[in-house]
């Protein structure tokens, strides 16, 4: 079974929004950047909005092959614009003039058609915005090709700490996502990959209405390369032993339905109770060989002749 995750990297024609949902127990940042590195190999520019990590720390996640394409939007150093009071807008606040798309355009090189945008993290923006503002900011990024003529393909990868937000907010963002990646807390040690970093569930909503759901294990090595394998095969095998086995109706019975040949013969020999003694004696003679013994007495009017010619006396 091929990895859905890798397919996502390979053949993605239209723009899309990948939502990474992680939690305190399992950070999704490693997976997010590993995938972003792979995608941006084929893309022209690689934008990162970083809010939780310093620029240096962020660039440690970026592979050497794509570091030349990297454009870092630093929101970590001065999130609320205190260092620069002259600036009218705060970096964390997405106003009509300074949302993702307009900040992107400021640093867009000419003749750039395919860009990767990483939002690390969406959670930092959410306290300052309503759900709808956040959604429309992301949507404007995904549909940038409609407004900016050069751009053809925008891949947006957003990280969300889903345990921090209300169900309503998370659902709203999921509604926008073409691919949802949920980092799970399951133990990856059962998988085929050695020293795996974790398990995630991927849910891909294709344009033709098909939805693919798969669990995969991932490992990121020192060169930011991603190693993946499908997770649930082992589990499936376990399940097939457990659930798929046909229920055996003869298993837990108080009587025996499966008789051996010797047992069957013994059973037939048993004389059951409540059969009258006469029947029991008859049982001795083999069936089908009945005989009539008749001794005529004097009163009998015995005729030598067989009137019907059929009695065979």
């Amino acid at each position: 079974m091929p990895s859905v995750f890798l397919q996502n990297v390979k053949g993605q024609e239209g723009s899309s929004f990948l939502l990474f949902e992680d939690s305190r127990t399992h950070s999704g940042r490693l997976l997010l950047y590993a995938l972003a590195n792979q995608i941006s190999e084929r893309f022209d520019q690689f934008h990162v909005f970083t809010t939780e990590l310093s620029p240096d720390e962020t660039s440690s996640y970026i592979g050497s092959e794509v570091s030349s394409k990297l454009i870092l939007h630093d929101i970590w150093t001065d999130p609320l614009g205190w260092n620069n009071p002259a600036e009218e807008t705060d970096p964390l606040k997405l106003n009509p003039g300074s949302d993702f798309i307009s900040r992107l355009c400021c640093r867009l090189a000419p003749s750039v058609s395919k860009i990767v945008v990483v939002i690390d993290t969406i959670s930092s923006f959410l306290p300052y915005h309503t759900d709808s503002q956040m959604c429309s900011a992301i949507l404007s990024l995904v549909t940038a090709s409609e407004r900016i003529s050069d751009i053809q393909n925008v891949q947006v990868l957003g990280l969300l700490h889903s345990d921090l937000h209300s169900e309503k907010t998370v659902k709203a963002l999921r509604y926008l996502a073409t691919t949802q990646i949920k980092l799970s807390v399951e133990d990856p040690s059962l998988s085929t990959i050695r020293d795996a970093h974790g398990v995630f569930e991927i849910l891909q909503n294709k344009k033709n209405g098909k939805v693919k759901r798969q669990k995969e294990v991932y490992r990121v090595d020192g060169n930011h390369h991603l190693e993946l394998s499908v997770y649930d095969q082992q589990q499936k095998q376990e399940n097939s032993h457990g659930n798929d086995a046909q229920p055996d109706p003869t298993a837990n019975l108080t009587f025996n339905l499966t008789l051996k040949e010797s047992e069957r013969i013994a059973k037939e020999k048993v004389v059951l109770p409540y059969i009258s003694n006469k029947d029991k004696s008859e049982l001795v003679t083999p069936p089908g060989s009945g005989q009539i013994f008749y001794e005529p007495d004097d009163a009998d009017d015995f005729d030598e002749e067989d009137p019907d010619d059929d009695l065979d006396i």
Partner: protein, 397 residues
């Protein structure tokens, strides 16, 4: 003599069919069998049947979207495509996708080629078709019998693998509303009782109905427009996060605004030649009672549940279907009763040329194996009344 004639004719014509005089002749419509309402087709005949023959003109249908919104959008596209085939004008609003794109993705009618060919034939040589019949002289004076052209049928079939051609699309007037573009020009209107997004949309629909001459009360005074048609209003994913507007309208929460919007829309449509289909991702609205409120504000409400990505996809009971249709509310117009379908268990399947909604039934058992696999699956882990508790998979008596 004349007097007797007049009385005789008077006797003859004293019986008048009530319906015939009243009903408006608009193409692509037919009167309902139940209550003489004017109906239009949703584009899916089996869906029409469930709704009691079709959508009544002036009503609002709510389609509650499946989780990924795919099948609900297909139904919306069918609704619009049917408008093209019946010569109805279209209005499409969307927030997440450019409505122009959705219009381009409308399914191609199976009879579309014929229709286009008919157009091409009719335009240049209208006189060529009027060759008089030469069977006998007296037939010439007979009125010409119009062949039943396919465009006047009620409900058509569509090919989902093809999309409409621009020529077909240009047969009707289309207008679109793309929220991100509409919200660019900020115009603070005075007393807000709706969210700005809903306000804008409602204004737009209002002006569409007024300017297009779909309003019924207007037309009574001015009868210049002899050829009347229907406006099909399709609102895609209304109520999705993009239509929410929590911040800019103080004091009005989105849901209240949405309810007011639907109420206003329904009132607006009641006396106009328009029909609306609204799809809504109700799974994003948290509270169940909220959804009930929205359903009550529409004339009919139907929920689509897709199996894609859910556990039911692998359930053998549902293997023939792509999803379920839950009828939440049926239209109750001009009557005390409503037409109820035979069963509430409805499933839908999507083929290349057909979207059908049918009664849900078990697939026929062809295999000779004594076990019926679905019996195990339909009741997962629910221990019913007579099943024994201590043994899970034993034989139950």
């Amino acid at each position: 003599m004349a007097a007797t004639m007049s009385t005789a004719s008077g006797v003859k014509t004293s019986f008048q069919r009530k319906g015939k005089a009243k009903s408006v002749q608009i193409q692509g419509t037919r009167p309902s069998l139940h209550n003489n309402l004017l109906l239009v087709s949703t584009g899916v005949p089996s869906f029409d049947f469930i709704l009691g023959g079709g959508l009544a003109v002036g009503s609002v249908l709510l389609i509650e979207e499946d989780t990924y919104g795919h099948y609900a959008q297909i139904l919306l596209r069918y609704f619009l495509a049917e408008g093209i085939m019946s010569g109805h004008n279209l209005f499409l609003a969307s927030a997440s996708q450019n409505p122009q794109k959705i219009l381009k993705m409308l399914p191609f009618p199976v009879e579309g080629d014929k229709l286009l060919a008919g157009d091409a034939k009719n335009d240049p040589t209208t006189s060529a078709g009027v060759e008089p019949m030469k069977i006998a002289w007296r037939y010439e004076s007979l009125p010409k019998v119009e062949g039943n052209t396919p465009s006047h049928k009620f409900g058509h079939s569509y090919d989902l693998s093809r999309t409409v051609t621009p020529e077909l699309l240009s047969r009707v007037i289309t207008d679109t509303f793309y929220l991100p573009e509409e919200m660019k020009e900020e115009s603070k209107s005075s007393p807000l009782y709706l969210c700005p997004t809903h306000q804008k949309l409602l204004r737009r629909i209002e002006s569409q109905i007024r300017d297009g001459g779909y309003h019924l009360t207007d037309s009574v005074q001015s009868k210049q427009t002899p050829e009347r048609t229907i406006l099909r209003i399709a609102l895609h994913s209304l109520g999705s996060p993009l239509w929410w507007d929590e911040n800019s309208s103080e004091g009005i929460d989105t849901l209240t605004s949405l309810c007011r919007f639907l109420h206003a829309l329904r009132g607006l449509l009641r006396n106009s030649l328009a029909v609306a289909v609204v799809t809504m991702p109700t799974h994003l609205l948290e509270v169940f009672t909220d959804v009930r409120r929205l359903e009550r504000l529409c004339d009919a409400a139907v929920q689509i549940e897709s199996f894609a990505g859910s556990e039911k996809e692998t359930n053998p009971m549902y293997e023939e279907y792509h999803g379920l249709v839950h009828v939440k509310q049926l239209p109750r117009l001009n009557s005390l009763t409503l037409s109820t379908p035979d069963t509430a268990d409805l499933g839908f399947k999507l083929k290349r040329k057909k979207f059908t909604i049918e009664k849900l039934h078990l697939p026929p058992e062809f295999s000779d194996s004594t076990s019926r696999p679905q019996e195990d699956v339909v009741l997962p882990s629910s221990s019913t009344g007579c099943s024994s508790i201590f043994q899970k998979r034993g034989l139950d008596f």
